[in-house]
């Protein structure tokens, strides 16, 4: 039981930190679907040890995060947005539930996990010359996929504000609305020649594979962040 102001304030700060990290993940979801990626990048810590592991590739440092979201994705305000099927006729929605958020005892970092039930809608075209024909957009073929995954996230306090620090998206299933997820097709990572190589091949459902034990490992309480124990790349350095 706290006996002084500082201890009580620290306890309250850690409780507030849980909400702040939850809010960050909610913001990620809303901004991602709205294709407001410029604003999303602002929620990241301005550090060289940022890590972003997506199913198609790895990005390191804040420059890597910017590359992923500002170059490989884009923003709804970009000149090219009208021709981007992720925005134009697109709807990529990723919800966050079943949270575990552990704030370090020192109140400087947090580690979290979410399940992500989501769906992705996009328009596909038969490309004759490799270009999308804006005038023929209404002839595009809509695709609707259920797309579920898991997130492991490390957060850090930067100048008194909580920020994303390290994030990994683990795919679970991605298949057409009309297809059972036991018919999961391999993730088409080869279609996205973006980012660096991942430290480990992503798990995907197959009838002869075992669901992984610790991808990710749910966070447990901890005192102070140690990159050699809590870093998002640690499972791959030890395997």
């Amino acid at each position: 039981m706290e006996t002084n102001h500082d201890d009580l304030k620290r306890r309250l700060d850690r409780l507030q930190a849980v909400q702040d990290c939850r809010n960050l993940m909610g913001a990620y979801s809303l901004l991602h679907t709205a294709y407001r990626n410029k604003e999303f990048v602002e929620l990241w810590a301005n550090r060289d040890d940022d890590v972003l592991l997506m199913p198609w590739g790895a990005y390191y440092g804040i420059d890597g995060v910017r590359e992923c979201y500002l170059e490989h994705h884009g923003d709804r305000e970009d000149m090219a947005a009208e021709d981007n099927p992720q925005l134009h006729g697109g709807m990529f929605m990723h919800c966050m539930d079943t949270e575990i958020i552990e704030v370090a005892e020192d109140g400087q970092t947090a580690r979290a996990f979410w399940f992500d039930p989501g769906h992705e809608t996009y328009v596909e075209f038969k490309e004759d010359d490799g270009k999308l024909a804006r005038d023929d957009w209404d002839q595009g073929i809509p695709h609707t996929d259920w797309c579920w995954g898991k997130y492991a996230v490390n957060f850090i306090m930067e100048d008194g504000v909580w920020k994303f620090w390290q994030m990994q998206l683990f795919p679970l299933t991605r298949q057409s609305f009309y297809t059972c997820w036991t018919h999961n097709k391999p993730y088409p990572g080869h279609k996205f020649a973006m980012g660096g190589p991942l430290p480990e091949q992503i798990w995907e459902y197959a009838d002869d594979l075992i669901y992984p034990a610790d991808r990710p490992d749910p966070p447990i309480p901890y005192k102070t962040f140690d990159m050699k124990i809590h870093g998002i790349l640690v499972p791959y350095e030890n395997s």
């Binding site: 939850r22 809010n23 909610g26 913001a27 925005l87 006729g89 929605m93 919800c95 539930d97 209404d138």
Partner: protein, 218 residues
């Protein structure tokens, strides 16, 4: 120097967040179970309370109470047992963003809701629909505790379970009969189109704030 008032307010704000989150969960549970008398009781008894839903706007606590308890009906109302047969409306809430004002008097949040409806069509065939929505909600701390103050429901999709939402993306599905909102919607409902853009601010992000101002969040 030990500032008990500041720490108490801090603790109250954290507790308030939990209360607001519980209001959203209670909304979900009472809506599903058609306990609409209790559902109306989640709202602040104020003339400026608002409920904007997919077919119109209900103004003031009386308008909101009328919608839930009369237009929808409560399961305790005679005859409701027949009406409720074969109907299930599930709304689950996730992806929370929630900001409690610095002064601890109001709060503002957004959620995504994954859900589904089941009902019996006029031809007697049961129908099941996937129903996803988004919610912008403002809360106020009253003498009766935290209450929902203003709520706006934004559609994502409502589609038969066997049909992707792009086949007929206009928001479909069950409607309670005899709906008479106080006002029509200010704008048509968004729905997915092959050549349209997903809206940028349905809802907008709830930002930290100290004292309430009506920024048209709801």
């Amino acid at each position: 120097m030990f500032d008990l008032d500041k720490l108490s307010l801090y603790a109250d704000r954290l507790s308030g967040a939990r209360e607001c989150r519980h209001l959203v969960s209670r909304y979900a549970y009472y809506f599903s179970s058609m306990r609409t008398l209790e559902l109306a009781g989640l709202w602040a008894r104020r003339d400026d309370s608002v409920f904007i839903t997919l077919w119109g706007e209900y103004d003031g606590y009386e308008g909101i109470r009328r919608h839930f308890t009369e237009e929808m009906g409560d399961r305790s109302t005679p005859g409701m047992d027949e009406f409720m047969k074969g109907k299930v409306f599930i709304r689950e809430f996730n992806t929370e963003m929630l900001q409690v004002a610095g002064d601890g008097k109001t709060a503002r949040g957004s959620w995504i809701s994954m859900g589904h409806n089941a009902f019996i069509r006029p031809d007697g065939i049961p129908q099941a629909d996937w129903v996803w929505n988004k919610y912008a909600i403002e809360f106020i701390n009253t003498d009766e505790g935290w209450k929902i103050w203003k709520m706006h429901i934004f559609p994502v999709f409502s589609t038969p379970f066997e049909q992707a939402w792009t086949v007929d993306s206009a928001y479909q599905g069950f409607r309670f009969p005899n709906l008479r909102p106080d006002k029509p919607l200010a704008e048509p409902l968004w729905h997915w189109t092959v050549d349209g853009a997903y809206p940028s601010d349905e809802p907008d992000l709830p930002r930290p704030y100290h004292t309430y101002e009506d920024i048209r969040f709801v």
